[in-house]
Structures are given as C-alpha cells and as structure tokens.
C-alpha cells in the first residue's frame, strides 16, 4: 500500500479529473502485453479478410493436378487431398473462427454478467426466476439441442450458430457472478451508493460489474478458445460450419491424422489458432490489470 505523500505537487487550477473510463484506457494502453495482443488480433483479422484477395486460388475449388503438394511459391501453404489451396482455406477458416470465438465470448460473458449480477443484487423472486432458468439450461443436453436445432437454422447461417453457442455457455459463469454479487451487495460502498439514491441498475453497472470484472475477463478469454473448439466438435459431427465452407476447427479436424506425413495440413491452422488464443490472453491480462487499480505496474 502506498500512501499518497502530503507533499504532492499542488495544481492551482486542475482541469476536470479524468473519469474511470479514461484512466482504464490510459492504463490499458500503457500495458505492453495488451497492446501486443491487440496488434496480433488486428493482424489476424487483416490476414483473414485481406488474405483471399492475395491468392488466386479459391478455398473450395479442387485442383486434381496438384494433390498434397508441400508449400511452394505457387501454393503458399501447400494443397490438400483434393488439391484445394491450404492458404485460401486457412484464411477463410480464420475468418469464421475469429468471429465465432470473439462473438461467443463477448455475448456469453455479457449475458452471464448481467444475469448473475441482477440475480444476486435484486434477490427475491428475480433471483429465483433467473436461477431456475440457469439450472434449466444447465441440465439440458446442450450438444443435443444444438444438433437438433441447427439444421432448422440453415438459412440463418453462422450468426445463428454463434447465438446458439453463446446461449449454452454462460450459465456456470452467471452462477459464480451471482454468488460474488451476494457478498458485494453487503459491502459498505454499495450500501453507501444505495443511501445516496443511486438507481439499482447503475449500481450494478458502476460498482458490481467492475468488481467482478477480473473473473469475467478470465472467463471470457477461456471462452474464446473454448468456443473455437466446440465449434470444431460440432462441425465434426456435421453441424455448425458445413463443407465446403471451412473453419480453423474443421481444418484441424481434417488435418490431425495427416499431421505426421503432411504437416502443412495441420500446423498452419494450429499455429494461427494458438496465436489467436495467446493474443486474447494478453489482451485479457492487460484489461484485468487496467481495471484493477491495486495491480500496480502501469501507474508510475
């Protein structure tokens, strides 16, 4: 604990003090890990969306004259068993996985935070109703439901798929947030806010959620990787991303057996996935430290 010295330089006329948003942003930008992570994610997006224009090959069109070619000047990442260009496939898959991973994590964490905090803060019947919903969703075999529902959503495309994944991913987090909120609610600073007449939802937004944010952020970073993997599992069984479309997950699933012999079928996709998860973790750590003022490294 560093006590502020009484001899802090006096500012005669200070401009308006920066609020929490600005302070967190400054701290976040000062954290090198988070910046590196953000740059990596940006580059990945660039690769994913500009990549298809860099190569003449299409991800879906087979080329039977060039089967299982190792990487070369022509096919940068080589080709697969039916002669499709692996680079074109990888960037296409990256597109899908980036969006799915980030969106699922964002949506499910938001939902978990809100539901958990509301249940914990309001208590009473709101708590009971929300927790009933959570338990209900927990005992549903989510995999089965997605399998049943997803054919019906064919038209809606992968966005619906994202929603489905998010919908079955937030419950345990919400339960944890709820129990954290239960103890936060009795803390004096929350009571103080109540006595000041701060509206309940504002208390949740300004006091409860920031104080559970460390947990939420860790959870979200784990979810990003998890979402990419569960998309793989679903795709493996023929739901989710269906051929000829690809995702990093489907590429990995297809390339696993062949990895020892035809490494280019596996390692490019795997490498990008690892890079992605790593970058998200860096951002998450940075964000967590930026939000937690006691983790002092970034303040001078």
């Amino acid at each position: 604990m560093t006590a502020v010295l009484d001899t802090a330089p006096a500012e005669p006329k200070s401009p308006a003090a920066p609020g929490r948003g600005r302070l967190v942003l400054t701290r976040l930008l000062a954290a090198r890990g988070a910046t590196a992570g953000a740059v990596i994610v940006l580059l990945l997006f660039l690769l994913a969306f500009a990549g298809p224009y860099l190569t003449p090959w299409d991800y879906a069109t087979p080329n039977y004259t060039a089967i299982r070619q190792p990487p070369s000047a022509e096919h940068w990442f080589g080709t697969n068993g039916i002669g499709q260009d692996v680079f074109a496939q990888t960037v296409r898959g990256l597109q899908k996985s980036l969006v799915i991973g980030l969106l699922v994590a964002l949506l499910s964490t938001l939902l978990a935070g809100l539901v958990g905090a509301c249940a914990g803060y309001f208590g009473g019947w709101a708590d009971r109703a929300l927790m009933f919903l959570v338990d209900l969703l927990l005992i549903f075999p989510s995999f089965l439901i997605i399998a049943i529902v997803s054919p019906k959503l064919k038209g809606a495309g992968w966005l619906a798929f994202v929603l489905l994944l998010a919908l079955f991913n937030w419950m345990i987090t919400a339960r944890v947030v709820r129990s954290m909120t239960l103890s936060l609610r009795e803390r004096e600073f929350v009571r103080a806010a109540r006595y000041m007449g701060v509206a309940p939802f504002r208390i949740i937004l300004r006091h409860i959620l920031p104080n559970v944010s460390s947990f939420l952020i860790i959870d979200a970073t784990v979810t990003v990787g998890g979402a990419v993997m569960s998309e793989t599992a679903l795709s493996y069984f023929g739901f989710g991303v269906r051929p000829p479309d690809v995702s990093l997950g489907t590429l990995l699933a297809a390339g696993t057996d062949q990895a020892p012999v035809f490494p280019w079928l596996f390692y490019f996709a795997a490498g990008l996935l690892v890079l992605f998860v790593l970058a998200i973790n860096l951002i998450g750590d940075g964000l967590r430290d930026a939000l937690d003022p006691t983790s002092d490294r970034s303040t001078p």
Binding site: V4, A17, G19, E188, F189, A193, Y195
Partner: protein, 671 residues
C-alpha cells in the same frame, strides 16, 4: 537495574527486507506493569510476539531477550513452548483464537495445568474452577463445561486470563486485551487483570494503543514509533512531562472525557514506510525538526529512568510545554446557534424475527433491536448517539436512512414524515441526508478513482457535468486533499485520507444532515484528531447537523452538543453534553462514564469506578420493567418496595426539571 526479570536488548525483527522492529530495549522488573503504547505499525505487537517466540518463520529475529538471565532468542521451539506455558503467559486481543473451539473451556484449562505440573484430573479441575472464580466468572463449576463460543467476548477474555495465570507465570503479556470490548466490559477485564497480577505477583506487560488504558494500568510506559522505543518513563512522569514530541502530540491528540477544550492537536502526516528512514523517523511530522535531526537517528538517552530519543529532549524537559504550544493547532471557527429542528424520531421500533430450521423456517423469537428510541436534531447541531454493541444504535441509523415507514413510531426528516414519501420527496431526502461509514476502506469502491467516487452522489442527483467538474476539486480542497488526487484510487491513500474522501463524497450534494457511523474508530489517535477537527470546521462553515454515532464517549464529549445514550434498544438518557457528562442521572450513564479510562494517571487513580455486573442481556430477551435492571447498581441497593417498581414498570424518559433539556428513563435517577 539489575533486578530485571525480563530484559530485552537491541531486539530487531525483519520480515524479509522490511524491518518491523529496529532495536528495542525494554526491562521489566518483578511485579511491575510495563505499558507499551504505539499506533498501528509501530511494532508494539511484533515486539510482544518476538519476546514469546511466536513470530512466523519468515521473520528474522535478532538481539537478545533474557528471562532471569537466560537467553530466549534462538532457543528451540520445544524449550520455548515450555517457558511460554509456565513462566510467560499471554493474553491476546481475540480470545477466540486462544481456545480451540471444539473443546470445553474446563478441559483446556485442565490440560494447560497438567502439562506443566503433573497432577490428578480431579485436582486440576478443582484448581481450574478456582481460577474461573478468581476472574469473576459466575458459577465456575458449570462454566468449566461450556464451549468457548457459548461465552460472550468479555467472559472469554476472563477465561483466557484464567488460563494464562493457571501456572503462576512470572510474566503476563497482554496484547490489546480489551480492544474489541465495550467500555463497561473493558473496565471489568482490566480489573480482572489487576486481580490476576496481584494474585500471582507476576509482572504485566500491557500492549495497547489506548493512552487511557495505559495511564490507568502501567507503572512504566514505553512509547513506540516506527519500530523503536522513542520514549520511556515512569507513568506519571511521562504524562506530565513528555520529552519526545511524538508523545506530546499523542497526549494532545486524545479527546478527553473531562476537559472540553478547543481543537485537538493533530500530528500531521503519517508514519514513514518501514525501511525508508534515515535520521529521526519522526522528522517528517515533527514541529520541532531541525537539520541535525535528519542526519542520524537520535539515541534513547536521559536520566533517572526517563529516556527519550530526540535531540531536543532536554529542551522539552526543561520547558514542559503543552501540546498546543508545540503543534500548530488549526483554528476552529465558532459554531453558529442551532436553528430549527431537522430530524425528530419518536418511539422508533425495529424488530427482527429469529428463525430456525433450514427448509421450514419457524419463528422462534424476536430480537427487539430498537425498542422505543427518541431523537431530535436541530440545524447546526451535533447529536452524539452513544451505546455499547447491541444497544441498537446502528439499527436506528439504518432505519433512518431507509426512508420508509418504520415498524412503529415516526421519523420526521426536514419536516417530512418518512412514512408517506413520494418519489420526489425520497430523492430530495436522499440528497439532504448523507452518511459516512466507519471503515473508509470498505465504504469506497476500490475500483473507482476518487474523482468518480466523489461525483457519485452528484450524478445520482443528475447534476450537470460542468457542475460536477467544478465541484470535485473544490470538495477535495475542502477536506484537506489535493485536487490532483481525483485521479487516484482509494488504496493509494492512508486511512485518514480515505476517511476524508468519504467526507468529501458526503458533502458533494450539500446535505443538511450528515450521519456519521463511528467515523474515527478505525483510525489511529493522531490521525483521528485531524479528522475530528475537520468535522468541527465543516460544521461551523457549512452549518451542518451531525448525527454522530460512537462507542467512544470521549469523542462524543469533544464533538457533540447534545447526547443520547442507548441501552438495549431504549433511549435511557438524553440532554446537552454538559449536563449529561457532568451530572449523569441514569445509573447506566454513570457506570459508562466511570468506565472510560482517562489519559491522565493522576486523575485516573483518584477516580472511583462503578463496575457493572455481567454482560448486557441479549436483545432477544425483553425483560419486564426497566431494561437495565439486571445490571443496575442502584437497583441492587434499593428496598423491596422500590425494587418492585423497577421490575414492573418501564421507566419513561423524564426531564430533570420542567423545561430542562436533560431526560433520563429511570425511576430513581438521582438515587
């Protein structure tokens, strides 16, 4: 000083690279009481633990501790444990930690007896009962079979003293033995400690932050600051002619129950972070600092047993100044006359059901937390609300702040009945009444910068942005902080500064009534003085009214205009501070006042103390007649006919004379 029983010389304790104790010398003679006084972080408790060899392994202990000439530092754990039980015994602040919760009290004392002196179970049990009797535990035979959690805090502390003296130790080491207790219980426990010392002839080493307790108990005193003893002297000498500026400041910082003075003497700043000092550790806060103070740490020197570690000790000894002659005392503007009434509470009642069972909850009883409370505060006035734990004072506060219809009774705030508030009314009252909590760490959101914290009530009142931006620097300056502090987080401030932030937040919306819930009891005295002075200044400048809740009567005496004493959910006495403190009418108030220790050994010895019997009853029981009956010292001396009245009739608050602002709820107030 050859007859020292315990001699500590050049004791050092380091936790890693952080020095906690930096060369402490102490000597304790047989049968005497040595008081060690200091604020948090001064190293006083660490010193006590080091003497006992009870520090964790991470601590590096150096120097020497000799008991009867035998070196204790570096002895193997087993040897030390033997000495601890038989020759040195310890009384901790938290007695629960000294007893194993799953064993009966009696078994634990018997065990302590038999480890050190092999004897039969029956004999040991008899001795244990004697010990419990000695420390004043009623029905000792039965008490032996109780579990620790069945005892109240005061009883546990007594039982711990009984266990400590079980083997006739030569030294009794008490570390803040009464800090967690109410003052009437504290008086009982201190009394028991004296008895225990008399019976065993042991030397007592009493560690405390409370100058009053030290003044009443100690023969000699050592004052610790930043890991060293800065002054040591016989108790009268120390309080009458302190030679170290820190001691002088401490004495001036304590509000006193008997003198109603001007402002307290605040010691500016905070103690230095350990390991950062060169020269005198007090230099940064000392009003007498000179250049030579910063070059080398002054040694502890002096004559005839009065030593001080200050280069100007001789000057202080010769001049014997009063604290306010050395420390700059901020002027406190005189308070205005109180205005119209802004709060009136009549007959407030709040009960809680006692539920049992997990699946089917049954109501098995009722806690009468607040059982008829009357309060009134006028604009510009401070009402002190006093009571021990369980008296219902906090519940009263929260009932007030809830702004709803009370269970029974009536609350009028700014002329509005809280039972019939509409939205706009609630909003207006949420602005007009603000609260400052006890623990400034818990009441500030750790994740919010100070600027946002202070802006919160303004935002809740939907104040425009420009106004908020203007107000924050202004408020920070008003409470003695810098506008630049707005972008820092609470953990970067010391306790006193955090409490100032709390106060700034409460002032943001220009309230009319400030509710202060034990606002200084988490702070060290030297810091507390600064906050109390600030509160006094703000009240005078802004014409605020305070509802000041505290268990500390000296603080109330210093700050309040009127006082209201609560016992077991009832208001038992109310009136102006002068009348209540100078001529208390209710037997409880009298006992309470006599239990408060004075930081003045001479006055302290001259006082007669009214010791109350027993603990406050649980608010679950609602005695018939007077709630104070079971402990009332007056009641015990009455004849049967008059007693019956106490037993049957609830006493109502009665004024001392018609038109006099001094009520007491007792049938025989002046007996």
């Amino acid at each position: 000083m050859s007859a020292s029983l315990l001699e500590v010389s050049d004791l050092t304790v380091d936790f890693g690279a952080v020095p906690a104790v930096r060369g402490v010398d102490l000597a304790v003679r047989r049968g005497e009481t040595l008081g060690i006084v200091g604020e948090s972080g001064s190293g006083k408790s660490v010193t006590a633990l080091a003497v006992l060899g009870l520090l964790p392994r991470a601590a590096a202990v150096g120097g020497s501790v000799r008991l009867d000439g035998r070196e204790l530092v570096g002895l193997p754990d087993k040897e030390l444990a033997r000495i601890r039980g038989s020759r040195i015994a310890m009384v901790f602040q938290d007695p629960l930690s000294a007893f194993t919760p799953v064993y009966r009290i009696g078994d634990q004392i018997v065990e302590a007896l038999r480890i050190h002196r092999p004897q039969g179970r029956a004999a040991a049990r008899r001795r244990a009962a004697e010990l419990l009797d000695l420390v004043g535990i009623p029905a000792p035979e039965r008490a032996l079979d109780s579990f620790p959690h069945e005892f109240s805090g005061g009883m546990r502390q007594r039982a711990m003293i009984a266990m400590a003296i079980a083997n006739d130790p030569d030294i009794l080491l008490a570390d803040e033995p009464t800090t967690a207790l109410d003052v009437t219980i504290q008086a009982q426990v201190l009394d028991v400690l004296r008895t225990a010392q008399r019976e065993t002839g042991a030397a007592l080493v009493l560690v405390s932050h409370d100058l009053g307790v030290i003044a009443g108990m100690a023969d000699r005193v050592a004052v610790m600051y930043a890991g060293r003893v800065v002054e040591t002297a016989p108790v009268d000498e120390l309080f009458a002619r302190p030679r170290h500026p820190y001691t002088l400041g401490l004495i001036g910082a304590v509000p006193r129950l008997d003198g109603r003075g001007g402002p307290l003497v605040p010691i500016p700043g905070t103690p230095p972070a350990p390991g950062t000092v060169t020269g005198c550790p007090f230099a940064a806060r000392c009003p007498l600092v000179e250049d030579r103070c910063r070059t080398a740490e002054p040694a502890l020197t002096g004559d005839d047993g009065h030593l001080a570690a200050c280069v100007r000790a001789g000057e202080l000894a010769a001049r014997a100044p009063r604290p306010e002659e050395v420390y700059p005392v901020p002027p406190v503007p005189p308070a205005g006359r109180p205005g119209e009434e802004i709060l009136r509470v009549t007959g407030l009642v709040k009960t809680f059901p006692v539920l049992k069972g997990t699946v089917f909850k049954r109501r098995v009883g009722t806690v009468h937390a607040v059982d008829g409370v009357d309060l009134a505060i006028r604009r510009g006035e401070t009402l002190g609300l006093v009571g021990e734990s369980g008296s219902g004072k906090s519940t009263t506060l929260y009932e007030l702040l809830a702004l709803t219809r009370p269970e029974a009774g009536r609350i009028d705030l700014l002329g509005r009945d809280t039972a019939g508030l509409d939205r706009a009314g609630t909003r207006e009252l949420r602005r007009a009444v603000q609260i400052v909590f006890q623990d400034p760490m818990a009441s500030l959101d750790p994740r919010m910068p100070v600027g946002d914290i202070i802006a919160e009530p303004l935002r809740a009142q939907a104040a425009p942005r420009a106004q908020i931006d203007r107000r924050i620097p202004q408020l920070l300056r008003q409470v003695g902080l810098e506008p630049a502090h707005a972008s820092r987080y609470p953990h970067q401030f010391s306790g006193g500064q955090r409490q100032r932030i709390s106060i700034a937040r409460a002032l943001a919306v220009e309230p009319e009534l400030l509710v202060l819930d034990e606002p200084v009891s988490a702070l060290d005295v030297s810091i507390q003085a600064g906050v109390l002075n600030l509160l006094q200044r703000l009240k005078a400048e802004l014409g605020l009214a305070y509802l000041f809740v505290s268990h500390d009567l000296s603080v109330i005496r210093h700050l309040a205009d009127r006082v209201s004493v609560m016992y077991l959910g009832h208001t038992v006495e109310a009136g102006t501070v002068e009348s209540v403190f100078e001529s208390p009418r209710h037997p409880y108030t009298r006992a309470l006042l006599s239990a408060v220790p004075l930081p003045d050994p001479v006055a302290e010895r001259a006082r007669t103390r009214i010791l109350l019997a027993g603990d406050p009853p649980s608010p679950r029981e609602r005695p018939s007649g007077c709630p104070f009956r079971a402990r009332c010292q007056v009641h015990a001396l009455l004849d049967d006919a008059r007693r019956a009245r106490c037993e049957q009739e609830v006493p109502l608050p009665q004024a001392a004379a018609p038109g006099v602002d001094h009520l007491a709820a007792c049938h025989y107030p002046d007996a």
